[in-house]
Symmetry: D2
Subunit: 326 residues, 4 copies
């Protein structure tokens, strides 16, 4: 396998804080190795629509600390069709691009895999998603920032919950995975944490709230992942109000604030490291792998296997939640 001479980098799927740090690392490592580096705008849409521009070292100056992605991201239906991918390939060839780095989630990697099976362009994936639920890596870019944003927001909510002796139900992001809920819930002392990975027992929650009210432990906080089987924060709010009509209950949906903001140190670090190694992979002739970090070491997973991971759930943590919130 030959080393590439011109590479493209794109961000795809939902944006996550730290993607800019990864772009910067890909661009500068590429330049370091004498490659030409192209920025592909709006994910695969930019490949199909030839929205592709050369990048230099200055293109990525002063972006390591910024949220969002300077390359933007978008969904692209055309790329899901063979015709669309053909156009995309022709555009890449036009620019001479012979290697790709895709920063995104499992959906983006599936697209890369299909594309790479059809056309001989090596694709390296970098896991960028706030949800953390990727196989083959302990970290995904954006999770640490998102969970800290959630924690800071819940801290503020606790101030007012405490002032009023209210029950707050806070919904955080996580359609398939409860990581943001679990981490932010433990870190803010939530009494209950409702996640998609476990069956939620509403009766138990109601019983817990009733018992606590008796003890006049008044501030109560329930953190719910949006993908919990109850249906999310609003649904949990309805159930609680129905069963405990005298309780002073409020629901907060944290929403999109969790996607933005300046990335944390950790997200910048792993993004820098993964970006660097993605280019190293291309230089070593690797193709169609995702760059992950497992036990602090780089780990390379075939893109085929880079899917959402339903992780074996750490029961110990749920036990800690119960004991510490009491």
């Amino acid at each position: 396998m030959n080393k590439p001479t011109k590479i493209g980098v794109l961000t795809s799927g939902g944006d996550s804080p730290g993607m800019n740090a990864a772009i910067r690392a890909v661009v500068r490592t590429g330049l370091h190795y004498g490659l030409e580096v192209f920025g592909i705008h709006r994910g695969y849409a930019g490949m199909v629509e030839d929205d592709i521009e050369p990048m230099n070292s200055r293109s990525v100056a002063n972006i390591i600390q910024r949220g969002g992605t300077i390359l933007k991201t978008a969904r692209c239906k055309e790329f899901m069709t063979p015709e669309g991918r053909k156009i995309a390939y022709d555009n890449l060839r036009k620019h001479g691009i012979d290697g790709l780095v895709i920063i995104g989630g499992d959906g983006s990697f599936r697209g890369a895999q299909i594309f790479s099976n059809e056309y001989d362009i090596p694709c390296i994936g970098i896991p960028g998603t706030i949800d953390k639920d990727m196989a083959g890596t302990d970290f995904t870019i954006g999770f640490d920032t998102a969970v800290n944003t959630a924690v800071r927001a819940i801290d503020k909510i606790r101030d007012t919950a405490d002032a009023h002796d209210r029950l707050f139900i806070v919904e955080v992001m996580g359609r398939d995975a409860g990581y943001i809920a679990l981490h932010s819930g433990i870190a803010t002392g939530a009494e209950h944490i409702l996640i998609p990975e476990t069956k939620t027992n509403v009766e138990e929650i109601i019983a817990g709230l009733t018992e606590k009210e008796k003890r006049r432990k008044l501030v109560n906080l329930i953190v719910v992942a949006e993908g919990d089987d109850t249906g999310g924060g609003d649904e949990v709010g309805k159930m609680v109000k129905e069963r405990l009509p005298n309780a002073d209950v409020r629901v907060c949906i944290l929403g999109h604030i969790q996607r933005g903001g300046s990335p944390t140190c950790l997200d910048r670090l792993i993004a820098s490291r993964m970006g660097y190694h993605a280019v190293e992979c291309l230089m070593e002739g690797k193709h169609n792998v995702m760059v992950g970090i497992v036990n602090n070491r780089m780990h390379y997973l075939p893109l085929d296997n880079a899917v959402k991971a339903k992780e074996r759930f750490n029961k110990e943590w749920l036990r800690i939640v119960k004991i510490l919130a009491s």
Copy 2:
């Protein structure tokens, strides 16, 4: 009128960041003048239920930077009845309390006014509300913090809006007043700011969005006060989606995060100053006034007049919004 010798301080109504700084100032200024100072818990409820404790200088150590209120706040139906206020008065007399400082909003001041008409205990009000809409003062404790919290949250939302070229509709607090919406909207470059003080013209907004889409100005941000005549963020979202079915529209309700958090410098300063002057007022024999700040000077308004102010709206600002967001 005699000077008081024992005073009580309470927080009432919705909590707002900076209330603790005001409590601290009342307690320490009271002690400075040789008064005994009592903390009344959970607003008027604490008066009715005799939830009243003496405070010393240490009671308020290390609280100036904390959100919420260490005295807690609550609604109190009993205090709305003559019987309830009689009990409250008896409790105050039991402790010898002959002066009150009430930190809260217009509803809390109405209660104080009625109480003070019935019983000879001077009441001084300190305006603590994130909504800012009080007559007789340029500042209310908590507004500056709340509006900065909103700005930081919208900044994060802009990151992801920008990455996706999406339209975001963000609802901020403000049931009767558009201050949080107006200030946070200008500060984040919102294209449209919808407030209760003006009639919202949905056609104009749709026209604006359509025109901007043509110019491919892609990031769009609409900030809506919860009390806007459209009905708030969710309603605006529905209207826009109906009229522009192809637009990628998201709604965020910022909610209770705006009530909490460590207060800004300004909120700590005005809270400290107002707390100090509230006690000065009591020492000077003033009664039933609200302590305000107008044009950087202390201003004393009879509690009767300390109502929500429908401010003469500054048209210039709306003009600036239009010009700067273009």
Copy 3:
């Protein structure tokens, strides 16, 4: 006097957070009035070196929330000479620029005044300085952000001061003015605030510390303006250690973190408003005034008078410091 048709905008002197919001307002208001707007880089140096570029609405997109200044700032010796100013004028004429907006402090305004006396180009000043000490305005762009940065930093220092029962001496910015020290000191509950406007009495401080040690009030915080007559934080630290050799004393110099960071809501608002009005001034044929805000209204001061203000000092505040920190 004729209305200008092409205007230039520059930032000069020390940078301050919110300058970008002011640039944005000048550019967009200028475009709104059909003017051509040029960005002049690195202050007067850009005028002398013809580092001048046309700006459009996109040039200032997504900058309202950023610290620093996209136009950069620099000192310029050449502009202090008649020859340098002649070159600067010739460069402006070359571009057809017939109006200037200068965002900066009193030094920058003096330069503008001299230039404007020599050449017929109207100059409007916008006060941008974290020090706040300008005549003719209640607000300067950057002060609110700087003082909040100082407050957040001192809050962190208090955490560790409190854990160790240590005395911390914190130096904040302010060579000629004690505003940052005074505001941040009150907002963090400092026992002593040392500012250039008052003669510092070291004996009194030592006496206060000794007395407090006896009462075992253990956390102590002294906030010092860098321009205090003692010589600043390090000097105060030396004096205290000499006189109280057993005290556990630490000195922190906050330094340049106070100049950067995303501007607060207030700084973005006043910058937007001042930028808008600066262009309005040019359109109305005003020349050589500074745009200020006094008692919430726009105020126009001849640039000649836009000097550092030794403000009549508010004694009440120093009294509040003493009472509240006890």
Copy 4:
């Protein structure tokens, strides 16, 4: 080995953010197991001076988010003597305390080890230090918060560095270890990172700066650990000014702000987990181990070995610094 029935918890050495979360976890886990839990104030000093109080669930309510340590910390010379430790032991026995949890660094663990060799009280260590340089654990409580505080501060400094095209030399904490410098330097795009673990080559730095000045890469940032062999930030500043007299160089010493502040999500999580497991250890009859986390699993290290780790330095990271900052 018997299970303890009454345990004491203390914080010792330099404070670090997250210690309160660890205290909370120890207390609540202890109560969960039916133990009595005592808080020992000011580290070993509280053992010697019998500054020991029983704690209940409420004692640790609402502290998970706070910086510093509610138990305070101090140095204690008496505990370094056999006589002092005898008094300490007698005090513990007086309260019936038969198990200890020590939250601190290597110095604190040495004390525990000696004490535990002399008296039969099992001691469990929890690594709390912002410096991260402990053997037997991937995480120490406080590091993640400290490094994020450093990153946020340097971000602000970059704003002003960028506005002025200045060289900033920023000193961060780390007397023996370069972790804070390395992580914060990579995360902020520093050109050079100077750490105790490597010999600093000043000539190389000067050469790099000179070369970059030629390319007009103007913003430059050097991050220096306080324990670097150059002597720290001020020393590096002097050297650079001497060799590059025309450069506009500023030095910032971040100092104690790095020790305080509300802990990050990660620090709260590991503190909660370690606190829980420290009590589990006591219940299982373990004694004289430090609770660590290695590769996401709990790891128990004899206190004897819980020393500062001169980690085998990850050369790859220094290589990444060079490539990414170019």
